[in-house]
């Protein structure tokens, strides 16, 4: 018997219903379903979502297993309600060959907590000079569809154009980390009022916006699709909005931290707030929220970037960039988008599951909660309030900007193809 009956959950935030899981599949959705032979989960007041999908995760394996491994990263993902994550290519070695992406894919299968879909590098060694074997990575067991040099920008316009054209052959997408390199030399934080005062090197908004503008025009010219990673400025939103209105096939993501935090936090010089792209201004945060609400920004992606303690417990300039996010993403989205009335839960399901699965072509994920579908599901208690304590994180790294901060909501259960990976808020 492997039947599970989730009783009385609000499916996608709608009416309370029962959901029966049989094996790896949702067997039935309705009211008053029989619990015969099933383990029952009383879920009154909870929200049932399709398993979350993260299009932008750094799992660090191979190469930086001291920060995170596929196993610890997928455990963190399951804790956060995710059933699939896309693993970025900036590992050591770089995921720029069929061999490396297959290794990551296999490690994901072995972990059993969450499906891992590797992202392939666009260029060899992320060096921006020579296209990686995009076709071979697609044809490999990993079936790569998303390509990104994330961490670095594909800044050569010709390379970017070629990559966009080339992946059309197999329906791939290029995910761009938009950062004009010359404009961001020595950049430490958002360029503006706070950087001027703190004397930290500025990362100007235009360095992101100018690359996005170029790339949407390139995508239009070659008739390909482009995905913009971690949009962080109000100006980027305007460019994507314009591109979409023009019919350009562009999608975009925003991270939870760019929906909540501002560059004012950098006044503490605490490197936990050091991230790329940097935390921007209140005005940017509000523009990003609005854009996620109106669909200009398609998805939330965590940019989960684990770093060991010693890489953050130092002076700002020496610190690594990035923050962990898998385990707090849904809570931040609840606080910034749901509790502000900008999104309802069905729209959260869209931004955090349906749409990312669609952009990344994740098989079996981002599916409706209905009979016959794979039982990739997440159960959330939205009434929960708690203070973030990184000591309890499943991620190997603890570089969260939310330590000590109260955030709403808690993932109580996560199911990967009918198997519980999280039960009562704890990893199974």
């Amino acid at each position: 018997m492997s039947k599970i009956l989730i009783r009385g959950a609000k499916v996608l935030g709608g009416e309370a219903q029962d959901v029966l899981i049989d094996g790896a599949t949702v067997a039935a959705v309705g009211t008053g379903l029989s619990d015969e032979g099933a383990r029952v989960i009383e879920a009154q007041g909870q929200i049932l979502l399709p398993g979350l999908v993260d299009l932008h995760t750094h799992l660090r394996e191979p190469g930086r297993e001291d920060s995170e491994t596929v196993l610890t990263g997928t455990r963190a993902a399951a804790s956060g309600g995710y059933t699939a994550v896309f693993a970025m290519a900036n590992t050591f070695p770089v995921a720029d060959t069929a061999g490396v992406v297959e290794q990551v894919y296999r490690l994901g299968k072995e972990s059993g907590y969450c499906d891992v879909q590797p992202i392939g590098a666009v260029t060899v060694g992320l060096e921006g000079k020579k296209l990686a074997e995009l076709g071979a990575m697609h044809d490999s067991a990993a079936g790569v569809t998303v390509f990104s040099d994330d961490g670095k920008c594909v800044d050569d316009a010709v390379i970017m154009r070629r990559a966009l054209e080339y992946v059309k052959a197999f329906g791939g997408v290029v995910a761009q980390h938009a950062q004009e390199p010359r404009l961001t030399e020595g950049a430490q934080m958002n360029e503006g009022v706070v950087s001027a005062e703190l004397g930290l090197g500025g990362w100007p908004a235009v360095a992101e916006e100018s690359v996005i503008a170029r790339d949407v025009l390139l995508a239009e010219h070659v008739g390909s699709r482009v995905h913009i990673c971690h949009l962080s400025t109000a100006g980027s939103v305007e460019i994507v909005r314009w591109a979409k209105s023009r019919g350009i096939d562009v999608t975009a993501e925003v991270t939870p931290h760019h929906l909540l935090l501002t560059d004012e936090m950098v006044r503490s010089y605490n490197p936990v707030y050091k991230v790329n792209p940097p935390l921007r201004t209140e005005r940017d945060v509000l523009a990003l929220r609005e854009a996620l609400a109106d669909g200009t920004i398609d998805i939330v992606a965590t940019d989960h970037a684990p770093h060991p303690h010693e890489d953050k417990d130092c002076e700002w300039a020496a610190a690594a960039m990035g923050m962990v996010g898998l385990e707090t993403a849904l809570s931040v989205v609840q606080q910034t988008m749901v509790e502000t009335g900008l999104l309802d839960w069905a729209q959260v399901a869209d931004r955090m599951s349906f749409a990312p699965a669609r952009i990344g072509r994740a098989q079996g994920h981002g599916r409706p909660v209905s009979a016959g579908e794979p039982a990739n599901l997440t159960l959330v208690d939205p009434a929960y309030r708690g203070v973030v304590d990184p000591a309890g994180f499943a991620s190997r790294s603890r570089n969260t900007p939310y330590e000590g901060r109260e955030l709403p909501g808690r993932v109580t259960h996560t199911f990967l193809r009918g198997r519980a990976t999280v039960v009562d808020g704890k990893l199974a």
Partner: protein, 325 residues
């Protein structure tokens, strides 16, 4: 008095005036045959320099020794220090050695703030210049120099710089001296104008408590003091301005420009000066130029800061004012 001195912006008007007044007392020590006070006898001060600056280090060292402190000089540059662990490791070593105060110079903005707030060390931290952020004792010695010249040595006691007009010229973008001075001079009631080519003014400057001008000539006649900043030659390669000559023509201070300043107005420079480009020899060597006084005043200011941060206790630290009598 505050526990650390990280930023000029942290000082209140009264705290700043108190430091300036104390520095006047300290200056008298320099006029004596034996230039020493017992105030910090038995206390250990470490000069922790991650970035070369012989001038600033010597100035602090002189101040520490005149207050009878034991001095440890730690130059991290060139040692086995690597990456970010260095600051924390070094701090903990100093803590273990029982250091009573740390004077830190660091190439990274915010490093002294991290040192003071991260729990790595308990001792008071004095910022001797961090990246492009702050250099508060420089601003204090500049203010001290201005007060002496513009208000008067004795008349200045208890006074601030209310209504004085100060113009700061040059590479504001990369200058911790400019940032510190804008903060402190504003606190002391002065009106500050920054003058630089637009490329050398930081984005976000509009929130600073000062005016910004791109035209040096228009500010000359209404300046009580003109502070020239150092322009590093490598800025030229990064296209901050077209040529050294053009910079000099537009933003250099020469005799003609100095002649347009009010009779009482002074010319300041944090040193070392690049003669010819930012300041001509004629100006640098004139009696309006306070560069040498600034150096001497630096020791008095640093004595005052160390004394107030560390001495504090009136019973074991004799009040220099009474001792003088």
């Amino acid at each position: 008095m505050m526990r650390h001195l990280i930023s000029a912006a942290d000082l209140t008007r009264d705290e700043a005036v108190r430091i300036l007044d104390t520095a006047e007392e300290m200056a008298r020590v320099a006029d004596r045959p034996i230039k020493k006070l017992p105030a910090l006898r038995g206390r250990t001060v470490c000069n922790l320099f991650f970035e070369d600056s012989t001038r600033t280090r010597i100035s602090f060292e002189a101040a520490e020794k005149r207050l009878s402190a034991d001095v440890i000089n730690f130059a991290a540059k060139g040692s086995s220090v690597s990456k970010g662990e260095s600051l924390k490791d070094t701090a903990q070593t100093l803590e273990a050695m029982g250091v009573d105060a740390v004077v830190i110079r660091h190439g990274a903005s915010g490093a002294p703030y991290r040192l003071a707030t991260s729990g790595w060390i308990d001792a008071p931290v004095i910022n001797a210049g961090d990246g492009t952020h702050q250099h508060p004792t420089q601003a204090l010695l500049d203010a001290f120099t201005m007060r002496r010249r513009l208000v008067g040595r004795d008349a200045g006691i208890g006074q601030d710089l209310a209504g004085r007009r100060i113009t700061i010229v040059g590479d504001v973008l990369h200058s911790r001296v400019a940032r510190s001075n804008v903060d402190l001079l504003h606190t002391l009631g002065a009106e500050v104008t920054l003058v630089a080519p637009p490329t050398l003014v930081p984005v976000g400057v509009e929130t600073w408590p000062c005016e910004v001008s791109y035209d040096l000539d228009s500010t000359l006649a209404k300046s009580d003091a003109i502070m020239m900043l150092r322009v590093q030659r490598e800025r030229m390669n990064a296209a901050f301005f077209p040529t050294e000559r053009e910079y000099s023509r537009r933003y250099g201070l020469d005799g003609d420009r100095m002649a347009k300043m009010p009779g009482h107005a002074i010319v300041m420079h944090p040193g070392p000066m690049v003669r010819g480009m930012e300041i001509t020899a004629e100006v640098a060597d004139s009696d309006r130029c306070t560069v040498i006084e600034q150096v001497a005043n630096g020791v008095s200011i640093r004595m005052a800061v160390l004394y107030l941060l560390l001495g504090g206790n009136e019973s074991d630290a004799p009040n220099p004012r009474t001792e003088e009598k």
